[in-house]
C-alpha cells in the first residue's frame, strides 16, 4: 500500500506540531521517522492509522483519503497495549475476532503466530506474567496476524533494555521480510532506524519539518552498523548530539 502525504500540517490550537510534510512512501518500503521527542512524528503515525486527522493537506493510502482506522493499517504501540485481562493467545486472536472470524480459526491462527515470534508454551500466560520483551513479541504477533498492508510502529521497543531491543529488532526484521508490508517506524534510536529502514527521515524540533532524508535502499544489514558510521554521525549531529568534542556538552553552556 502506497502512502502519499501532501502538504500535511497539524496544529492543536495555537501549537503547530507538523509543518507542510510531503513524502511518498512506496508499497513495501520501510521508512523510519527519527527526531527529538515530542516533535510530532507520532502524530504523523497516528494520522496514517486514522486515529487523528490532518489540519490541512491530504494523506492518501493507495489514492484513497485516510479518514478512519482500518485493520489494513495497523499500529504497534510502545507498551501496555496488550489487554491485561486476556492471555497472550486471546490477545493475538482478538485481532481476527474483531474482523468477525470464528473464534476457533482465530485461536488456531494465533497459536501459529505466537510460535513465529518464539512464544510457544506461553499461550495461556497473562501479559503481566511475562517479560517486557515477550509482551512486545506478542504485540508484533497481534499486529501481523491480520496481514496488514501497512505496519506502523510507534517506538515499539522504546521501553526495553538494549540487548532485548536488538533481539526484537531482528524478530521484526524477519517478519517484515517474510510478510512485506509497507512499514513506517517512529523511533529515537538511530541504530534501530539504520538497521531496519530503507529510508530515514530526520525531523527537527516542533513544528516538525524534515531536516534530512537519507536513502539506504533495501540492502541486507546486520546489527554491525560500522559501514554506516558516517550516516550515523550525520544523523546524530542533526539531532544535536555532539560527536566531535570529547568534553561533555553541558560545559558548552547547554541548559540542563
Amino acid at each position: 500500500m502506497e502512502l502519499q502525504f501532501r502538504q500535511v500540517t497539524k496544529s492543536f490550537g495555537d501549537l503547530s506540531v507538523i509543518k507542510q510534510f510531503d513524502t511518498l512512501i512506496e508499497t513495501g518500503e520501510i521508512v523510519a521517522l527519527v527526531g527529538p521527542s515530542g516533535c510530532g512524528k507520532s502524530t504523523l503515525l497516528h494520522m496514517v492509522a486514522g486515529l487523528q486527522s490532518a489540519s490541512t493537506g491530504t494523506l492518501t493510502a493507495d489514492g484513497k483519503p485516510v479518514s478512519k482506522p482500518s485493520p489494513e493499517r495497523t499500529l504497534v504501540f510502545q507498551e501496555h497495549a496488550l489487554y491485561p485481562w486476556m492471555t497472550l493467545i486471546e490477545n493475538v486472536a482478538l485481532a481476527l475476532e474483531f474482523q468477525d472470524q470464528p473464534k476457533q480459526t482465530a485461536q488456531e491462527e494465533a497459536r501459529k503466530w505466537l510460535a513465529r515470534v518464539k512464544l510457544s508454551g506461553f499461550e495461556e500466560y497473562y501479559p503481566h506474567q511475562v517479560s517486557g520483551g515477550m509482551r512486545q513479541r506478542c504485540a508484533l504477533a497481534r499486529a501481523f496476524i491480520a496481514r496488514p498492508q501497512v505496519l506502523l510502529l510507534d517506538e515499539p521497543f522504546g521501553a526495553l533494555d538494549a540487548l532485548t531491543r536488538m533481539t526484537l529488532q531482528s524478530v521484526l526484521k524477519d517478519l517484515i521480510e517474510a510478510e512485506r508490508p509497507t512499514v513506517v517506524l517512529v523511533t529515537h534510536d538511530v541504530d534501530e532506524a539504520l538497521y531496519l529502514a530503507d529510508r530515514v527521515l530526520v525531523f527537527s524540533n516542533r513544528p516538525a519539518t524534515v531536516l534530512k532524508e537519507i536513502t539506504l535502499g533495501h540492502i541486507p544489514k546486520t546489527h554491525d552498523l560500522s559501514a554506516f558510521a558516517d550516516i550515523r554521525r550525520d544523523v546524530l549531529n542533526l539531532l544535536g548530539i555532539d560527536t566531535e568534542t570529547t568534553s561533555p556538552s553541558v560545559e558548552k553552556g547547554e541548559t540542563v
Binding site: P69, F77, H80, F98, Q99
Partner: protein, 256 residues
C-alpha cells in the same frame, strides 16, 4: 497466589474473632438486662433452630431472597449498561453523572410511599426500591471507570478494526470489571438495607423485614434478636462468600 491465600486465612480468623466479640457484648448486655428486654445468646440460637424447622421462616426467607435477587440483579445489569454507554458518550456523560449524584443522595426507603401508590400493594414496590438502592452506586462506579479506560487500549482496538459493540464488550466491559465489582459490593449494602426497611414498612406477605417488625410489635425480643441475627449472617455470607467468590472468578487474571 500464596500471599493472597494467607491474607484470606488472616481475614477469616479476624472474622471469627469479631463474631465472638460481638456475641460477647450481646451476652454481657443480656446479663444486665431482664430477659424480656434482652434475650441470652443461647436463647436466640434455640429460637433460630425452631425457626429452621418452621415452614413460615423458609417462606419469608424465600420471599426476601426473591425480591433481593430481582431488584439487585436488574440494578446491576441496568447499572452496568447505563454506566458503560453513559461513560462512552461525551454528550450526556456529565449531565447523567450529575443526575445520578443528586438521585443517589435520596435514601431509597424514601421512595416507598410513591411506589406503593403507583404500583400498588405487593412485591413490585419493594423490588423497585431495592433496585434503586443498588442501581446508583453501580452505574456511577462503572461510568467513572469507563472514563478512565486507558487510551492505548481503546486506540489498539480501533486500529484492529473493532466495531462499537465489540469495543464495549471486549474492551470497555473487561476494563471496568474491577470497579464494577467494587460498585456491586457497595450496591449490595444499599440493596440489603432497602430490602429490610421496605419489608418492615410495606409488610406485604412473609419476609425477613416483616418478621422483624412483627416481633417488635408483639414485644417478642427473642424474635427481634433472632431476626437481626439472620439478617446479619445472610448479609455477611452473600457479601463475603458469594460476591467475593464471583470477584475472584471474574478477576482471575489479577490473582495469578
Amino acid at each position: 497466589m500464596s500471599t493472597n491465600q494467607s491474607t484470606g486465612v488472616a481475614s477469616k480468623r479476624a472474622y471469627l474473632v469479631a463474631i465472638a466479640v460481638i456475641l460477647f457484648f450481646w451476652q454481657v448486655a443480656a446479663w444486665f438486662l431482664p430477659d424480656f428486654l434482652m434475650p441470652d445468646v443461647p436463647a436466640a440460637f434455640v429460637r433460630l433452630w425452631e425457626e429452621f424447622n418452621s415452614p413460615t421462616f423458609w417462606e419469608g426467607l424465600g420471599n426476601s431472597m426473591t425480591r433481593l435477587g430481582a431488584g439487585y440483579g436488574s440494578a446491576i445489569l441496568l447499572g452496568t449498561v447505563v454506566g458503560l454507554v453513559g461513560g462512552t458518550l461525551d454528550a450526556v456523560r456529565s449531565t447523567l453523572k450529575a443526575a445520578i449524584i443528586i438521585l443517589q443522595s435520596i435514601p431509597s426507603i424514601a421512595w416507598v410511599p410513591l411506589f406503593l401508590i403507583l404500583m400498588g400493594f405487593g412485591n413490585l414496590p419493594i423490588i423497585v426500591v431495592v433496585a434503586i438502592g443498588a442501581f446508583f452506586p453501580t452505574a456511577l462506579s462503572v461510568m467513572n471507570a469507563t472514563e478512565s479506560v486507558e487510551k492505548v487500549h481503546i486506540s489498539a482496538a480501533r486500529v484492529m478494526g473493532a466495531s462499537r459493540l465489540q469495543m464495549l464488550k471486549r474492551v470497555y466491559f473487561p476494563a471496568v470489571t474491577p470497579e464494577l465489582i467494587t460498585g456491586a459490593q457497595l450496591a449490595f449494602g444499599n440493596a440489603w438495607r432497602a430490602l429490610i426497611s421496605a419489608e418492615m414498612i410495606v409488610g406485604f406477605s412473609a419476609g425477613l423485614g416483616k418478621s422483624l417488625a412483627y416481633s417488635g410489635e408483639i414485644a417478642d425480643m427473642t424474635g427481634v434478636m433472632t431476626n437481626i441475627l439472620v439478617i446479619a449472617v445472610l448479609a455477611a455470607v452473600i457479601d463475603q462468600v458469594i460476591l467475593e467468590r464471583i470477584k475472584h472468578r471474574l478477576l482471575r487474571y489479577q490473582y495469578l
